[in-house]
């Protein structure tokens, strides 16, 4: 006992960042439970050659199922594979990333296995031989510590919280065959926008704009700031600007949008309504730029600048470029 199994997410046969995070979280938990960690994943032919790096993060074995149908998320096959592996070895927990795939898959596994599921977990520990998980509820207005009536415990970990840390293990790749039955639902395509932006939940830096931006055209200014901040940065938005049709819903941060935990969050022309705070208050550092010194956003911001965003934002992008050029 004490072993942990981790779902390592792929897309088009490439590991996604959340896979490294989930393996890191799984390994830390396995250490507390006195066992090791294994990973499992699905992808098209050729995937097995690209996933041994999970060993760097502590995976002892990496189980891989290959099939052309696994180019995209294959819920039924992933579920069967998970079930097969749980039958081979005694695992105390199964860890999934709380990503679009993991949040769809983990509850299927919970129902199939008749086990408890803790979603969007932000901290993990152990009590005796069982995991204890901390997860936000009520959009982060309360934090619950949860335990599991029976093992294996099913857990999904919030992206960007468990940062990948290297701790090399064998990472032995082992191919497994998943019995093919007709899938109940099939992903026939993935549509991405023109600009394949980093998702707000996965970005290390989020630059969000609100109604104070005045006009959708002004977003070129925020794009420029994102550009100055580098590849880890992406755009976010308040609901006011999503509802106005200025920005796509995929960018909305908040209770009815996405919950983000980046290292750095910029709230620009955003007042800081309770539903917006619910989506970003766990960011490690928050910067607010607003001309109203009384705006509630300043109560959660680590660093606030009171002023006209149309002056501050371009100056900020310029200053970041200037200091970045120095090093």
């Amino acid at each position: 006992m004490g072993r942990v199994l981790v779902y390592a997410e792929t897309r088009h046969g490439e590991l996604r960042a959340v896979a490294r995070e989930a393996v890191t979280a799984g390994r830390d938990l396995a250490e507390e439970l006195g066992g090791g960690v294994d990973a499992f994943l699905l992808g098209p032919p050729g995937t097995a050659d690209r996933v041994a790096e999970l060993g760097q993060y502590g995976a002892e074995r990496v189980f891989v199922a290959e099939d052309p149908a696994f180019e995209a998320y294959a819920a039924d096959a992933a579920l069967r594979m998970c079930e097969d592996l749980l039958g081979r070895d005694a695992y105390s927990a199964v860890v999934f990333p709380a990503s679009a795939q993991g949040k769809d898959l983990a509850p299927r596994a919970a129902a199939r296995l008749d086990r408890g599921l803790a979603t969007e977990v932000v901290a993990l520990g152990a009590d005796g031989d069982g995991p204890i998980a901390t997860r936000p509820m009520y959009a982060g207005k309360a934090m619950a510590r949860v335990s599991f009536a029976e093992l294996p415990a099913l857990i999904s970990v919030r992206p960007n919280v468990f940062r990948p840390r290297e701790r090399p293990a064998a990472g032995a790749v082992e191919r497994v065959v998943v019995a093919s039955e007709p899938a109940r639902q099939r992903v026939t395509g993935i549509e991405t926008g023109d600009r394949v932006a980093l998702d707000v939940t996965e970005a290390n830096i989020v630059v969000s704009g609100g109604r104070g931006m005045k006009d959708p055209e002004n977003w070129s200014m925020l794009e420029d700031l994102v550009d100055a901040l580098g590849d880890d940065a992406t755009l976010g938005a308040s609901r006011a600007v999503v509802d106005a049709g200025w920005r796509p819903h995929a960018e909305q941060v908040g209770q009815t949008g996405k919950v983000v935990s980046p290292s750095l969050y910029f709230a620009i022309g955003i007042s800081g309504a309770i539903q917006h705070l619910a989506g970003m208050r766990t960011a490690k550092t928050i910067v607010a730029i607003n001309r109203d010194a009384e705006a509630p956003i300043f109560s959660v911001a680590d660093f606030g600048v009171v002023g006209d965003l149309f002056e501050v934002v371009p100056a900020l992008a310029a200053e970041i470029r200037r200091v970045s050029a120095e090093v």
Binding site: A110, R184, R186, L229, Q275, A293, V306, G307
Partner: protein, 248 residues
Amino acid sequence: MKSIVCIKRVPDTEARIRVARDGAGIDPAGVKYVMNPYDEFALEEAIRLKEAAGEGSVTVLSVGSGETSEILRTALAMGADEAVLLSSTESTDGLGIARALADEIRGREFDLVLCGKQAVDDDDMAVPSMLGELLGLPCVTVVVALAIDGRRAVAHREIEGGHEVVEFDLPAVVGAQKGLNEPRYPSLKGIMAAKKKPLEVKEVRLAEPKLRIASLEEPPGRAEGEIIGEGTEAVPELVRRLRERALI
């Protein structure tokens, strides 16, 4: 089109949440309860599918305490035909709720089960996938577009950086995301009509939770922030602070 829509009664998103003294749940005093916002998209879609087909029915189901009748009435006022309250005061987890819903749904005839993508109290995003599994049906979650042609359906599912296009057959379970449609408000006529529509209350036993809440706490407040200055003059100091924290 016969649809079953699962709706949950949850605290309004504006509500200030206080943890009850026993630490086992929240203090309901002063909290306004509403239909889970995502369930409105599920219900709206079911009503539209029935309207477009020109025939069928919309049944709303909820597992909850007696007070849940209020939101079931709201659903009837929006256009649902009948409501069933699976009444219980026991507490369970997402799987327990999904089991109670699945037990009720199994005995019914339907083309589609619609849920919200997530309930804004437990924030689980689990019940729709669990229902799909318990009923042995196709299930697509976080759906922003749905097209049905006979027994075939195509859904767009929101993923990081785009959409997945997913094909499946009916009957199926779908979890509705914002963007699927624009939910209607109940009309006065609808509110009047709702009073005469059937609302059945069934007592149910809920399964013991497999996930136990050991404690519930209010999150630590963020350290008091600091306004570092005004206008462009504050920019160099801001950048210095961010570099100090190795953020840029």
